[in-house]
């Protein structure tokens, strides 16, 4: 697993704190932890336990309570759209608001290298969204977020619809982002994937998270 080696771990080698989460509450979900630059937190837990709720709350997509800071700056002190460009949530089933692929990217040319890396043709920019497979949608949804160069990526089952090869490429791409200093929270049902990608492992049950020993 050569791609896993590029994550900044073990714990002692963590970078600076990029995201601080204190007393975050959303419905039955509550959490407090820090995300460091260059690390990937693998978040596991049964379906319906609240992993997506936690990631959406961090991105401020749902009403929630708590103190969140990005590089020491309070979430409420910056406009919500700016917060989400820096702390970006990627849904397992990404939504689409325009007719063609290209219309969903602020600058298509910036997306092309990532698109090619994920095994999609450059011509897919003109494709109708309705003709995309679930896997293509998931890869393009990820690229759409990666072009933002976010400080923190909140990945909600980002490879759930992908084959082994595509999964491997996605894991490698996210590892590259972490090595460039981004903080990652990666929700997954796949225990082996969690072990591969996670520099820290969190397990969620009853709406609370617990860090597993390395």
């Amino acid at each position: 697993m050569p791609y896993a080696a590029s994550y900044a771990h073990p714990q002692s080698n963590r970078g600076l704190v990029v995201l601080t989460i204190e007393g975050l509450r959303r419905l039955h979900v509550s959490a407090s932890f820090d995300v460091h630059s260059g690390e990937c937190i693998a978040l596991q837990g049964a379906s319906g336990v609240g992993k997506s709720l936690l990631l959406r709350a961090i991105a401020d997509l749902d009403v929630n309570e708590g103190i969140l800071k990005l590089d020491g700056v309070l979430r409420e002190s910056m406009p919500a759209p700016l917060w989400r460009k820096k702390v970006t949530y990627v849904a397992a089933e990404p939504g689409w608001w325009a007719e063609t692929v290209q219309e969903h990217f602020p600058a298509w040319s910036e997306a092309i290298p990532l698109i090619e890396k994920l095994g999609l043709p450059v011509a897919c920019g003109s494709w109708d969204i309705r003709r995309l497979s679930t896997g293509e949608k998931q890869r393009l949804g990820l690229v759409r977020a990666l072009v933002l160069d976010s400080r923190v990526l909140l990945l909600d089952e980002p490879t759930s619809a992908l084959d082994a090869n595509s999964t491997k490429i996605v894991e490698s791409m996210i590892a590259d982002r972490a090595s460039m200093g981004a903080g990652i929270i990666w929700s997954t049902h796949d225990k082996a994937q969690a072990q591969r990608v996670g520099s820290r492992l969190f397990i969620m049950s009853g709406g609370r998270i617990e860090e597993l020993p390395p």
Binding site: A59, D62, K85, T88, G95, W97, A145, L148
Partner: protein, 268 residues
């Protein structure tokens, strides 16, 4: 200007046409006879009552009674707007948004036409103000009702798309724009279709009424054109305000989609 006056007795024979519909419903087991009877009775009572009310208002020429009648008309319109919603905004916004936008749009356009085109004396004369308001209100109400219905249903249906856009840093206005466009199109379409078909497919009620009352067709046409312009303006203004207001209410200051502010579907 002469016209053929009708007595209530003259209406008995035409009323048999409705009775014929009822008989058809019974014969064909359409089960519409009860609804038809209630609707006919309501129509009769409402129109006779409104005839007396208008007679009183036209004799009084009072700003207070005219304004009160206008407010009552707006309240009934907002009730109709809510009745046409599959999903409704919660709280005071249920009736408040429709009523406010209807009042603003229909009121503005009516006052505009009274002050700039018709110049009645006094300017609020109920003989002009109330029929004008009524016609503008009916169309504005339809536009607002359709616009809000498409907005709320569209946001529920397109939730993933809207939130994906928000998650990538779009503002609430950018994220809602595709749904807002659909809602505005739906609100405007009946008026545009009505304008396109008028004169060819149908002769509008007001124009027909004026011609029957002895007005020259060329003069009746001018009035009808004025009304259509006012209706288009009122519907556009009201639908725009209601859809933008609805979009504002269904998001918050942190640019989050707030579908929790819509009540569940009707009939559940």
């Amino acid at each position: 200007m002469t016209y053929i006056q009708l007595s209530y007795g003259d209406l008995i024979l035409p009323a048999f046409l409705v009775v014929m519909n009822g008989a058809l419903s019974i014969a064909l087991h359409l089960r519409l006879e009860k609804q038809l009877a209630i609707a006919t009775a309501r129509m009769f009572i409402q129109l006779v009552l409104v005839g007396y009310v208008l007679t009183f208002l036209f004799a009084a020429v009072s700003p207070f009674w005219t304004a009160l009648a206008a407010v009552v008309m707006v309240l009934f319109a907002s009730r109709e707007i809510v009745a046409r919603q599959k999903r409704r905004l919660m709280g005071v916004w249920t009736y408040g948004l429709g009523a406010a936008c209807t009042l603003m749009a229909a009121g503005t356009v009516t006052i505009f036409s009274l002050l700039t085109q018709l110049h009645p004396d006094p300017w609020y004369h109920p003989r002009y103000a109330l029929p004008l308001l009524g016609m503008i209100l009916g169309n504005t109400m339809t536009g607002i009702g359709l616009g809000l219905d498409v907005l709320t249903n569209g946001l529920v249906r397109e939730r993933a798309a809207v939130e994906a856009h928000l998650a990538l840093g779009a503002t609430r206005y950018q994220a809602l724009l595709p749904v807002i466009r659909d809602a505005l199109r739906s609100g405007f379409m009946p008026t545009i279709n009505g304008m396109a078909a008028i004169g060819l497919v149908s002769l509008p009620g007001m124009m027909t009424g004026q011609i029957l009352a002895g007005v020259e067709p060329a003069d009746a046409v001018k009035y009808q054109l004025l009304i259509m312009f006012l209706i288009a303006g009122g519907t556009g203004l009201g639908t725009l305000a209601a859809v933008i207001g609805g979009g504002y209410r269904l998001t918050d200051h942190r640019h989050r989609l707030r579908l929790d502010r819509i009540s569940s579907e009707l009939g559940t």
